[in-house]
């Protein structure tokens, strides 16, 4: 399909501190490429419309719905998925606070919260709410998730 060559390309993506290559269609979303090409299925296709936050990954440390960014658009940026999050503080806090039920929103939520804590270690309740309302959790009622965030922030302060 020579006439369609320009519909796709070989790209290199910096994912979880590794360089990964793949042939992608230009219209492939990063979510699709992460899942189908690289097996990084921690990013979940909850809506493919940028509404639910289940596919959140970090692009240069900023939470982005990976369903709302093209794979080709991500070239040149540093991508972190749940599989690449080496600091497990938030994961442990989610487990410790029972902030997980079905688990489908969990990876996206954890990446979003990781970025929040990195960006605003002094986040107050208003700031926490502003960040947390980006993700839908259908199971917990959010209280345990908020507790996980707050306890992590407190623990960090004590450790400093």
């Amino acid at each position: 399909m020579i006439q369609n060559m320009q519909a796709g390309q070989l790209i290199s993506l910096a994912i979880n501190d590794q360089v990964k290559e793949a042939y992608v269609r230009n219209s492939d979303t990063l979510l699709y490429t992460l899942r189908e090409q690289f097996g990084l299925v921690g990013a979940k296709p909850g809506c493919n419309n940028g509404d639910c936050g289940s596919c959140t990954v970090l692009v240069d440390g900023i939470p982005i719905n990976s369903c709302h960014i093209l794979s080709v658009e991500a070239v040149g940026h540093k991508i972190t998925t749940i599989e690449g999050l080496t600091d497990s503080t938030i994961q442990q806090a989610f487990i410790g606070n029972w902030a997980i039920q079905c688990g489908y929103c969990t990876p996206g939520y954890i990446l979003n919260i990781y970025a929040l804590i990195q960006t605003y270690p002094d986040a107050d309740d208003a700031m926490i709410n502003e960040w947390l309302e980006s993700n839908i959790c259908r199971c917990t009622g959010y209280q345990e998730i908020k507790e996980a965030v707050k306890n992590t922030l407190i623990a960090r302060k004590i450790n400093e």
Binding site: T29, I64, C67, H68, E73, E130, E133, S134
Partner: protein, 275 residues
């Protein structure tokens, strides 16, 4: 999953972007400029648009400017709503930007995309409408600078917004914005208004009320007519709306009118201290 295929370009200069557009459309390829891309991705996924090529503007340095100098505030078209919300360069715009969608979405939505998208709300337009801001627009004829007024920014074929320029003085004025949604805060507006007090005169712009965002001199005149009671001024303003009040799944037109009246009342209370 976007079922269609398109070519993707990410030029590094304005001139290259303009030239690319000319070349692609010259080859009968339907081409669109791409900022944050959230709306393009969603609409392409749902088969509502099927471009043959997209030109991503995010590598153009001018489009990424966010600065305030002694005279002006300059915001590049591909600056994200979060960057604007987190910066203090333009407080009214900060507040309006923060009310759009939710934070993770705002990390990707660009100001240029919000101003020129097909979604009927385009709330980020309101602060620019109120402040005689100008849009720097690039196209085949080079760049032009136009005052943003009325219903927003009209682009010709092959043009894109490079920057938005606002006089610095407006950052100092008293301002209010008000957004009502159906229920969840994260939703499209039923009524969104932004307002600024300039030389004791209220300026106000609207989104969600009619099928497009707008600012209208006659409405402001009515609202500023202190010879009338607040109630009469508000009614006069509503009578002057440029189009029928929206009636859709978000809200009935009757309820929208009620919300609008309340919002205007709050506005008058706030600026004039009347109750």
């Amino acid at each position: 999953m976007i079922p269609i295929d398109f070519e993707y370009y990410r030029p590094s200069t304005i001139i290259k972007a303009v030239q690319l557009y000319q070349d692609l459309t010259g080859n009968q390829k339907q081409t669109i400029f791409y900022g944050g891309g959230t709306e393009i991705i969603s609409r392409a996924r749902m088969n509502e648009i099927s471009p043959n090529a997209v030109i991503d503007l995010k590598n153009i340095p001018e489009c990424n400017v966010l600065k305030k100098d002694t005279e002006t505030i300059t915001i590049g078209a591909t600056v994200s709503l979060t960057q604007i919300a987190d910066s203090a360069v333009f407080p009214l715009l900060t507040n309006v930007a923060r009310s759009i969608a939710f934070r993770t979405a705002r990390n990707k939505i660009t100001i240029g995309g919000n101003l020129t998208g097909d979604i009927i709300y385009r709330e980020a337009l309101l602060p620019f409408l109120l402040t005689e801001s100008e849009a720097v627009i690039a196209g085949r004829e080079g760049t032009r600078q136009v005052v943003i007024s009325g219903n927003g920014i009209k682009l010709n074929e092959g043009e894109f917004i490079v920057q938005l320029v606002t006089n610095n003085k407006f950052a100092q004025y008293r301002h209010i914005n008000h957004k009502t949604t159906k229920q969840s805060k994260v939703n499209y507006p039923i009524v969104s208004i932004a307002s600024i007090l300039v030389d004791d005169q209220i300026r106000v712009a609207f989104s969600g009320v009619c099928a497009y965002p707008f600012r209208l001199n006659q409405i402001e005149e009515a609202l500023n007519d202190v010879t009338n009671s607040p109630g009469k001024r508000i009614q006069a303003a509503i009578d002057l709306l440029p189009a029928p009040i929206l009636h859709d799944a978000q809200a009935s037109s009757e309820y929208r009118e009620f919300v609008l009246k309340q919002a205007l009342q709050q506005l008058l209370d706030n600026f004039e201290g009347v109750s």
